[in-house]
Amino acid sequence: MKQWKQTLSSLIHPLIALLIGFLAGAIAISVTGTPILQAYQEMWTGAFGNLYFLTSTLARSTPIILLGLGISLAFRSGYFNLGAEGQMVLGAVAAALTALYMPGSGIVKLLAAMAAGMIAGGLWSLLAAWMDAKFKVNLLISTLLLNYIASLFAGYLVTEPFKDTTGSAALAQSRMIEQGAWLPKLFAGMSLHAGFVLAVVIAILLTLLLRYTVFGYELKITGQNPLFAAYGGVNRTRVMILCMLTSGALAGLAGTVEVLGSQYRYIDGSLTAPGYAWTGLMATLLANSNPLGTTIAAVFLAALQTGAMGLERNTNVPLEISSVIQAALILFISARFTYSFLKRRKEEKNNGATV
């Protein structure tokens, strides 16, 4: 009974935030003159209306889940990995090139490409972690800067040495990967691919890792109380390096499954333009870095985006409505105002302690 109450009260806060998010969306929709209820109905149809839309939503959520899981792992240990975008892009380009140039049968190419993608993303993230551990170069800033460098480098690879010269030469993209190395689709004719299953499995594995292993425990206490962790003999640098490595590898995997499962080549800008990395960060924030929660939040955010696309197709509401709803949602979920107003009264006294 008590547990029930706790679950309920922990649900109230996200629900209020959700309400505020949709309220903000409603205001924005009413500006365009489209009836609000009709707009939200269109959104629902666009996200979950039939099997095709549903699978598109899940396909879109796949990279977001993996990115979110990677970021949440770093979060848990107390670090902000803002470099998921660069790690994803390098992973994607490494996977595409490996699948193109690796000799062997389709399945060999597929596995090699996935390994290459994870390694590329992981190493890029490791670089930032190493600079922080060894030279005290602030992780927050270095990961942010490395994004630009990674995207430009990947862009260079597909405009100069590995550019697709077979088709219309206008696009900066690699050649197409042969069909044997593609990730299989889950339903014929739909965009959902095996990467989604992989993402869900990884989410479950991460949950188990955090809950039942020594490393998971070390990681948690490093994030919650670094001093206590150090006192208890946890090697903080080791935890950070491992977390950032895994975090980057997951981001790299996100890029990899996009390449192997839906685009079949690396197209410059195709991963950065939809803002997958920032959406992944949001999913993590929404779920308070819980792996399974992150997965659900990622699907939800992807649904908002595919829903908004449907909305734009059928009405005159621009698809940016999804960013408005997302942002309002995150803003209010991050606020701790429902922690009872009484408590805040007390805290008014230690005015200013924001963190």
Binding site: G78, F80, S142, L145, F153, M282, A327, G352, T354
Partner: protein
């Protein structure tokens, strides 16, 4: 080599650096009161949109800049309320505000101006160039400092002003006290929250000007996401300059110089991608030499994950 480095290169450095410098100065106000403001990118974007909107509505440049500032102040107020009153994590709130700014400006661009991508009007005038007469007499400076908008001048004045404010004024030292030890500041009777609010709003003012310079100074148009990461670069410049106005000027100039140089290098046979990388690579290298002082350590990256 001479083709590469000439005075017009420095001239474009001075111009390009202005939005970054202004935003960094604003960010430092927040950093100095212990709030790490990741929302600079979004705030500048809102400013750029506000400036164009104001220009289109009123046709008056002064009013346009005021509207830019006003809209950013509103946005900052939201940030302040959420981080100070509702005690949200400032990085989370900042990221969300960046999203909101990107979404809202694009959304409004489509609903108000009914265009996709970018809005410009040939009838619309940008900010005028102001040449200071006494500088025009001196040969080198004349080339360096000609054709800049009033906002460029203002940005450099703000560097001096902010330096005096932080280190020579009573109000400034109170602000620093809040950042360094809120409890101690509280105990000597400073209104910590009020000062934090003021700092965030001050940051909004700077970001509004940065946005106006971006959309009315350098070009006369608004395009979706036109800040293109400048807010994040400003954040980097702020941290590299350790929230010290002169330091931030130096780090912004470094970045602006590299940016201008990268455009110049495109004429040579170096691939564009590598020249574009230059500012970021240089900044990473610079971070090895100027390490982040630890006054932000407790507010930023390390304690914010729960």
């Amino acid at each position: 080599m001479e083709q590469l480095f000439d005075l017009s290169l420095l001239n474009s450095t001075v111009r390009m650096v202005t939005p970054i410098l202004l935003a960094a100065l604003g960010g430092s106000l927040c950093a100095r009161v212990g709030i790490f403001n990741v929302a600079l990118e979004g705030l500048v974007l809102v400013g750029a949109f506000g400036a164009i909107l104001g220009n289109a509505l009123t046709g008056n440049l002064f009013l346009a800049v005021l509207i830019a500032i006003g809209s950013v102040l509103l946005f900052s107020l939201l940030f302040a309320y959420i981080t100070i009153h509702l005690r949200a994590n400032e990085i989370v709130a900042g990221v969300a505000l960046n999203f909101l700014a990107a979404g809202l400006t694009t959304f409004l661009l489509r609903t108000i101006f009914s265009v996709k991508g970018a809005y410009y009007d040939n009838e619309m005038h940008g900010l005028p160039a102001w040449d200071l007469p006494f500088l025009q007499q001196i040969p080198v400076l004349e080339q360096l400092f000609s054709g800049h908008t009033p906002l460029v001048w203002l940005a450099y004045l703000f560097v001096i002003g902010l330096h005096l404010f932080y280190f020579k004024s009573v109000a400034g030292s109170r602000l620093l006290a809040v950042g360094e030890n809120p409890v101690a500041a509280q105990s000597i009777g400073l209104k910590v929250r009020k000062i934090q609010y003021a700092a965030i709003l001050g940051c909004g003012l700077f970001c509004g000007l940065a946005g106006a310079q971006l959309s009315l100074g350098q070009v006369t148009m608004f395009s979706e996401g036109m800040t293109a990461g400048r807010g994040y670069i400003a954040l980097v410049a702020m941290m590299l300059g350790q929230s010290n106005p002169v330091g931030m000027l130096a780090s912004s100039l470094l970045f602006g110089f590299m940016d201008a140089l990268s455009i110049r290098l495109q004429g040579l046979s170096i691939p564009t991608h590598f020249t574009l990388m230059l500012p970021y690579v240089m900044t990473v290298i610079a971070m090895f030499f100027f390490r982040d002082k630890s006054y932000l350590k407790n507010t930023g990256a390390n304690s914010s994950a729960r």
